[in-house]
């Protein structure tokens, strides 16, 4: 356990000391703040705009960091040969991967916290703060962890550029898996089965999207939150386990 923590802390340090992160963070906070300007351009909807754009900005920047940093972090260890130092010590390879995953996840949660404080502060200022907004940010965090797990999975066998393209594609598809089901209805039986299988296998990222309900003040049932947490964790664990099995066979 101490090894896992040491590896996670090291990745956290690595990512948090990266200056590009702060540029992105400032940009994200500016975008959240700019939602006030957009809000004034609309009549009667300004509060919704502030809430909606802010959550959108938080997700956008979180996803950008998860994909960019996630796809390169393991490749960098191999390319710069720091992996030699770690894997020749008594560190099982899965622990190395999980440590990297936890380190970047921790960084993302810290960033999410900073962006969240800015966002919720703005919402409070506008008098539209609701506890469900915290839940919506939490779901974004779970989604980011799942994305990091996807990048770790791809890094175990492919190049960073390909990993980035594949993860980004999965992010786009993952928010539209319902479309696969609709298409399946119109397809031939064989294709239909394949598309339905894909529907179940691909990550359903809309599970983590509670933005609309929260922004428009609709009640989000407790079961929805519980399902999202369970689904996110189960999918993440499955990805990390598969990545570990592949990484065990790799040679350096």
């Amino acid at each position: 356990m101490t090894r896992l923590w040491d590896l996670a802390r090291n990745t956290f340090r690595e990512t948090i000391r990266d200056r590009i992160l702060y540029v992105l963070l400032v940009f994200a906070l500016l975008m959240i703040a700019s939602s006030v300007v957009f809000g004034t351009l609309t009549i009667g909807q300004d509060q919704k705009i502030v809430l909606d754009l802010g959550l959108g900005a938080i997700e956008l920047f979180g996803v950008a960091i998860a994909i960019f940093v996630g796809t390169s972090m393991i490749y960098k260890e191999i390319d710069k040969r720091t992996v030699y130092v770690v894997l020749t010590k008594p560190v099982p390879r899965p622990i190395f991967l999980i440590g990297k995953f936890l380190g970047l996840s921790l960084t993302l949660w810290v960033l999410l916290g900073l962006m969240g404080v800015g966002y919720l502060g703005l919402a409070a200022l506008k008098g539209v703060f609701a506890p469900a907004l915290i839940g919506a940010i939490g779901l974004i965090g779970l989604q980011l962890m799942l994305l990091v797990a996807i990048t770790v999975f791809f890094s175990s066998f492919t190049s960073p550029i390909l990993g980035m393209i594949l993860t980004f594609s999965l992010y786009l598809i993952g928010h539209n898996t319902e479309a696969l089901r609709v298409l399946a209805q119109k397809a031939s039986p064989a294709l239909k089965a394949a598309m339905e299988a894909l529907y179940y296998v691909l990550p359903n990222l809309s599970t983590f999207d509670a933005k609309n309900q929260v922004v428009y003040g609709e009640a989000v049932p407790a079961l929805r939150w519980i399902w999202a947490v369970g689904y996110g964790l189960a999918y993440t664990v499955a990805l990390l386990a598969t990545a570990s099995a592949i990484f065990e066979r790799r040679e350096f």
């Binding site: 101490t2 923590w5 590896l7 720091t82 030699y84 894997l87 008594p90 560190v91 099982p92 350096f252």
Partner: protein, 246 residues
């Protein structure tokens, strides 16, 4: 004879074909043993398979044929690796860490921590003459400083066997002399040292025994003066590998 701590039998490694490149035989039928407390030098021209052999001994890659045992067990056993130290060739470490943070990280990977680790790190930093740069980030280190912090991380667990891959490469004469002194110190402490090099003078000064690797094959091994015979080690080396590189 003392206990055998590195036992390689008929070891072979073939790298699978890559795009545009055929399969590459990196090692072929290598058999050698290193006894406890010995300083063993693996000599050979660049690309002879020295790094491949060390990587197998450290569990980074797996042999295609034959067997490699370190301290009586397979190298991919984490308990075995807990007793080894390794300095890779041209090491690149985490540049965003300070020297001290890096050693703390490495110690942590061995399950070490607390006061004991702090004391050990202070001693190691002193030993490699890096105490004054302990709180400087590694990105600001010179090549020689990186090599010295690399030696310190290889010793953080007080290993029984120390593997060094081309430890002198890129060092200036002073750096080389310091590192040589350090290796001699380790030798006096009774550590087993296994190092790869293509610098013959280092081998003559430091090693009890050597193995000469050429194009993946072990073409000679034995005590330095036995291999050299009536001539110098350089003569013997050129005689054994010269043909292919003339």
């Amino acid at each position: 004879m003392s206990r055998i701590v590195v036992d390689i039998q008929n070891l072979g490694k073939v790298y699978p074909p890559q795009v545009g490149q055929p399969a590459k035989v990196a090692l072929e039928g290598a058999t050698l043993q290193v006894a406890e407390g010995e300083t063993f030098g693996l000599l050979g021209p660049n690309g002879a398979g020295k790094t491949t052999l060390q990587k197998i001994l450290l569990g980074l890659i797996r042999p295609t044929s034959g067997s490699a045992m370190v301290l009586g067990a397979a190298p991919d056993d984490t308990r075995t690796r807990a007793r080894l130290g390794y300095l890779p060739e041209n090491p690149y470490f985490y540049t965003y860490l300070t020297g001290k943070e890096f050693l703390e990280f490495c110690g942590g990977l061995f399950g070490l921590g607390g006061k004991e680790l702090q004391e050990r790190i202070a001693k190691l930093l002193d030993r490699v003459n890096m105490t004054s740069a302990a709180n400087t980030q590694l990105r600001k280190y010179s090549k020689g400083m990186l090599q010295r912090i690399g030696v310190a991380q290889a010793l953080v667990n007080d290993p029984e066997i120390v593997f060094l891959d081309e430890p002198m490469s890129g060092l200036d004469p002073v750096g080389r002399a310091q590192l040589r002194e350090l290796i001699l110190d380790l030798k006096r402490e009774g550590k087993t040292i296994f190092f790869n090099t293509h610098i013959l003078s280092d081998v003559e000064m430091l090693c009890d025994r050597v193995g000469i690797l050429n194009q993946g094959k072990l073409v000679g091994s034995g005590k330095v003066h036995d291999l050299a015979g009536t001539g110098t080690l350089e003569d013997a080396f050129i005689r054994l590998v010269g043909g292919a590189h003339a």
